[in-house]
Amino acid sequence: MRFSKLLRKELRECLPWMLLAAIVFFAFGGFFLRAEAYFESDRHYSRLSPGTAVDYYWLTYYSILNVTGPWLFFLSIGLGLVLGVRQFWIPNFTRTWPFLLHRSVSRKTILAAKLTATMIAFVISLGPVWVGLYWYASRPEVFAVPQTLRVFIEGWIFIMLGLVAYLGTALSALSTANWYTTKIFGLLLATVIIVTTLSQWTLAGIFTSIAVSVAILLVQIFDTFLRREF
């Protein structure tokens, strides 16, 4: 009961950012995808002439959904940073941690409520819009060749990277070290993981690096949050 109340409180605080991310992604992603559907007939074709060598450039294609990719990626990272700052950094500046921590719930419950709220925020703000855009792009009357499952998974990887950015921000906010020493290491690790993920080509490698980084960040967040003085 206490947990659900805390969860609702956290969700209430996340709500404006969730809505903003969902609306921006739906509006811009949808607009560019619709525009791409309009020009679909120009997509492949007839750049190849008889009796000539074919530059492989003409045979490699992005998914039609690539117009939505940067929106999803940057919105997800942005949402992660904003929620991390909102939940862990702002209470430092406004000195409101004691008001939250003095409640008759354990610190573990408070932290779990924050993390759960963030995960829900990511899934219900960007997730349904992404599923909707993928479904739209996969309809044969819109694009003849169906979208690959890999592109769908990559969309969810972007959403997970937002979560990595959130955890990195949270760890940096919770750290009591000076900003010029190890305080920013949480954010740096998140950056390294995001760059590493974007440099891999196997889904197994990507999921492994995300899982390892999430585990590293989560363990430290719990440890710091349960131990530190506020």
Binding site: H44, Y45, S46, L48, S49, P50, G51, T52, A53, V54, D55, Y56, L59, T60, Y61, Y62, S63, L65, N66, V67, G69, P70, F73, F74, K108, P140, F143, A144, V145, P146, T148, R150, V151, E154, I157, F158, A177, T181, T182, F185, G186, L188, L189, V192, T196, T197, L198, S199, Q200, W201, T202, I206, I216, V219, Q220, F222, D223, T224, L226, R227
Partner: protein, 537 residues
Amino acid sequence: MKLKISLKHIATPTKIFMTVLIVLLAVLMLQGIIIQTERMFSRTKQFSAPAKDKEELTEEEKRIDRIRSSSKEFLPDGTIHLVHKPRRTPGRMDEPEIEQIYDANDNLLWKGTSDKRPYEYLSWANQLRRYGFTREQMKQMQMITPGFSRFIEIPIGSDDKTVQIWRYHPGAQYFKGYDINGEKIGYIGSTGFTNSKSKAKPFGKFRFFTAWCPQNSSNPILLWQTQRRIYQINFERQNVEMIFESTDSDIEIEKTSLHAWRDLKPGAEGSSDSKKYRPLLLCVTEDGKHHLILREPERQFSLAVPRSSATATKQGIFVHCSGSDALPPKGIANSRELYDKWLQERWGKPRNFWVELYKVDNQGGLELLNRYDWTLPPQSESVVRARDLRLAVQRYVSQFSPPLYDLIFHLLGVRFWSSAYYYQHRGDFFLDLIRTILDFRPYGGVINRVLSALMMGFAFLHGWPRRTSWAGFVFWLVFVGMFNLAGLLTYLALNNTAVIRCPACGKPRGLARVDCVRCRAELPAPERGKLDLIFST
């Protein structure tokens, strides 16, 4: 409380891992910046080193320079000619490109514009890599950029409209086809076309492909190279032909080359005279064998000639090889020490080069038709000095790298590292990173070991009054020793607690422990003040 305690046991190692990872990357970046800055300056020096003008060269030097820059061409009867193209006057692009043709005895045979050349030389198979799509590019294509990964799609058209699209699935290693209404057509795999997924057989591990449109169609044909096979795929006819299979060893990606194989229109880039030449494919397997696959009629040979190219006219099959004692021996790139030693031995010595032309008989035997040798003087001193400085800076900068890199290098083995070297600069993030680490490994240097020992000494002095357990203290000393500068910075980042003078023994002691590490005296209780009245009630 239990969670707190168990978390501490996991959180501490993860914190160390995270910190050392970031510090290692920071040190690596710093080393890279130093090396690149130095290279920038040494390159400027190298280029600004005084070089002789053409006018200052002696007649003999001019002759050697001409031989060096001439292309060595063969006539079908084996005669060799040296084709030299003098540089145009700077800024005079309107000048026609003149070429001079010399024979092997350095007699000028002809001079004029290349389109009026009176000789028709043999043209040779070109490496596919120049105009193909490689395994590394396939990996790059699958990387998830913010615009998602890409894929290979082969459009098949009819009457200027695309009617089919064949998409390659890297996981399943076959193509899947769709018509323009989004309906599935079928699959193309190693056994050809099938409309059932269960019957589609994978091509095998992708290595390379090149594509062209034949003269009678605008639909591409693919030459598809896997680990041990080469296929030709015609999507329009839904036909797959296996051109070559190696049963014993893998096919080298770099060395597959083609001549007159693709049905290109005359004058198109890469085209050959189909009336004069037979279609030829040359591939090299990792066991060093060169395989010649010919058409019209179909023939296949295996040859053992290093650094070669081939061509097949209607009259005969020719193999062309080149060599030099100025090139490092095979396998030497795996060892920097051996390479440096070889380089030192080579400096100051003249460099010998040669080209050879062989004719291949019907049994695949080779008959030497002609050979041409030439010698170049040693490389200039200015280049030697610039390179030495670069190596010296790299050597000193590498001394701050963890000795652990050397251990990892030896554990992973030569084969792994040579592969990392081989694929350098091809966009493979991890191999590039590994190669960079390889560049910065300390090579067991004495300075590196001394620096590690000094840093361990510093960590000892710093950690002695602050130690809370012997195990932790020893761990950090070993850690600093293994990671050098990165280890010391990590140690300081995670262990730098405040120190006070012990009131009992007067020596420094950390505040992370309640008793003094030397005299075992506990921390003094704070003096009673006015506020204590409140707390005592």
